[in-house]
């Protein structure tokens, strides 16, 4: 009996492996599936949610958001400006706006469900004219008119729930992370679309009330300076388009519609409360 171990052929040739190509194909597959699912859900939810009557939003928010009595005067001042802009935008009568002043240093303003708009002290301190503040408020009113808060909430809920359930079910940490990030990107894409739509409406309202777009470009300059973190990185991971592009858009809009880009600015007549003592 002959006992021997003849040499065996190599099963693997490390040089012939193409792991990067494999990664690209697998990653492409996961991305494609997530994009299709997230976009389909976002589209469907974003279409469905605004079909709820506005009263549903209003009732849902009733009692959840009340004007802070300490800042009633400031809120009333903002309300007056908003009502003028609202009628310029042709806001339906059932979409009542409620303006809130918030004594917070954030350079920001937001619109949420039920027609509530919050404007922060930080923003009011930095705008140089009523025109610029009007551009912000008109922008937020436009969000409400287009039912953006409802659409966003619907999309966030639908995409969040389904993608989370789906990605967890894969049992793969890697897939979970990729699917989560990708679906966030999809939501941000819709968010930027909303911002652009709201900018258009805001410019229309400002032009109607003041006869020119003066102050609007200043506003984006102010935002750019005060929030540099929102302007960096990749735009696909940002909720808002970069200010540079929004400033550009003001100019384009003025040229397109034959509206003067500049004009006399109305000074801001809104007395802010004394800054609170720092703890």
């Amino acid at each position: 009996m002959k006992l021997e171990n003849p040499p065996q052929p190599e099963q693997y040739d490390p040089a012939a492996e193409q792991p990067v190509r494999e990664l690209a194909i697998l990653l492409g597959g996961v991305l494609a599936i997530t994009l299709v699912v997230a976009f389909a859900l976002a589209w469907f939810a974003g279409m469905l949610a605004p079909r709820l009557p506005f009263a549903v939003e209003r009732d849902f928010m009733a009692g959840r958001m009340a004007v802070d009595p300490r800042f009633a005067a400031q809120s009333a001042g903002l309300q007056k400006l908003a009502d003028r802009l609202g009628s310029a935008l042709g806001l339906p009568p059932d979409m009542a706006l409620t303006l809130h002043y918030s004594d917070n240093k954030a350079v920001n303003a937001y619109a949420t469900l039920g027609g509530h708009i919050v404007v922060f002290r930080g923003l009011i301190e930095r705008v140089n004219s009523e025109n610029a503040l009007a551009a912000v408020i008109a922008h937020e009113i436009a969000h409400i008119r287009h039912r953006h808060p409802a659409a966003s909430a619907g999309r966030g809920l639908a995409v969040g729930l389904v993608v989370t359930a789906l990605s967890t079910a894969t049992g793969s940490t890697v897939a979970e992370r990729i699917m989560g990030t990708t679906s966030m990107g999809v939501l941000m894409n819709y968010s930027r679309e909303q911002e652009t739509a709201a900018d258009d409406d805001a410019l229309r309202a400002v032009a109607k009330v003041y006869g020119h777009l003066g102050g609007a470009a200043d506003l984006f300059e102010t935002l750019k300076k005060s929030r540099p973190d929102a302007e960096a990185g990749f735009e696909i991971f940002r909720t808002h388009p970069f200010s540079e592009r929004r400033i550009e858009h003001v100019r384009e809009f003025a040229a397109q519609h034959g509206i003067p880009a500049e004009g006399p600015l109305t000074p801001l007549a809104l007395a802010l409360p004394k800054p609170a003592e720092k703890n």
């Binding site: 171990n5 040499p7 190599e10 693997y12 940490t173 890697v174 960096a232």
Partner: protein, 157 residues
């Protein structure tokens, strides 16, 4: 620089993939070179799956020998395998990993046999253990244990 800071998550991921790929690849080709080289050195020690030496081999001692090797995956392999399990198919990145672990374990088995003065191992068997480091889905390391019966010339009493 700013771009890197603002998209930190993405860059950390890319960096980890890059590090995993580069170091994993260097380690793998170095390990394969070493395996092939040592397999030649130990080619005279024979391995058999048969349970017992053929009856004509007499006058020998037998002793249990074992060799084990633990090889870790790298971030890149872990990442690709994590995606692969969604679609199915050959997990090529792990095939080479297991091949290396098996061959390394056998080499250590042969080394032990040679140290004992033997030149053949019968009844060779393999066991494998999954050593998962960290939490669920963490980077995996694999242990392969090879053991068998080494045949040694009988020691004169």
């Amino acid at each position: 620089m700013d771009l890197i800071l603002r998209s930190l998550d993405l860059f950390i991921l890319l960096a980890l993939l890059g590090v995993g790929y580069a170091f994993g690849r260097i380690a793998e080709s170095r390990h394969y070179r070493s395996i092939i080289e040592r397999e030649k050195q130990f080619a005279d020690i024979l391995l058999f799956a048969a349970k017992r030496p053929p009856p004509e081999i007499t006058d020998v001692d037998t002793v249990l020998v074992s060799g084990s090797a633990v090889i870790s995956s790298d971030y890149f392999k872990w990442f690709v395998a994590g995606l692969r399990k969604l679609f199915g198919g050959r997990v090529r990145v792990y095939e080479t990993l297991l091949d290396r672990a098996r061959r390394e374990a056998v080499l250590r088995l042969k080394q032990q046999t040679r140290a004992l003065g033997g030149n053949a191992i019968f009844n060779i068997k393999f066991e494998s253990f999954n050593v998962t480091m960290g939490a669920r889905g963490g980077i995996a390391a694999i242990e392969i244990l090879a053991y068998g019966t080494a045949v040694l010339p009988r020691r004169t009493a």
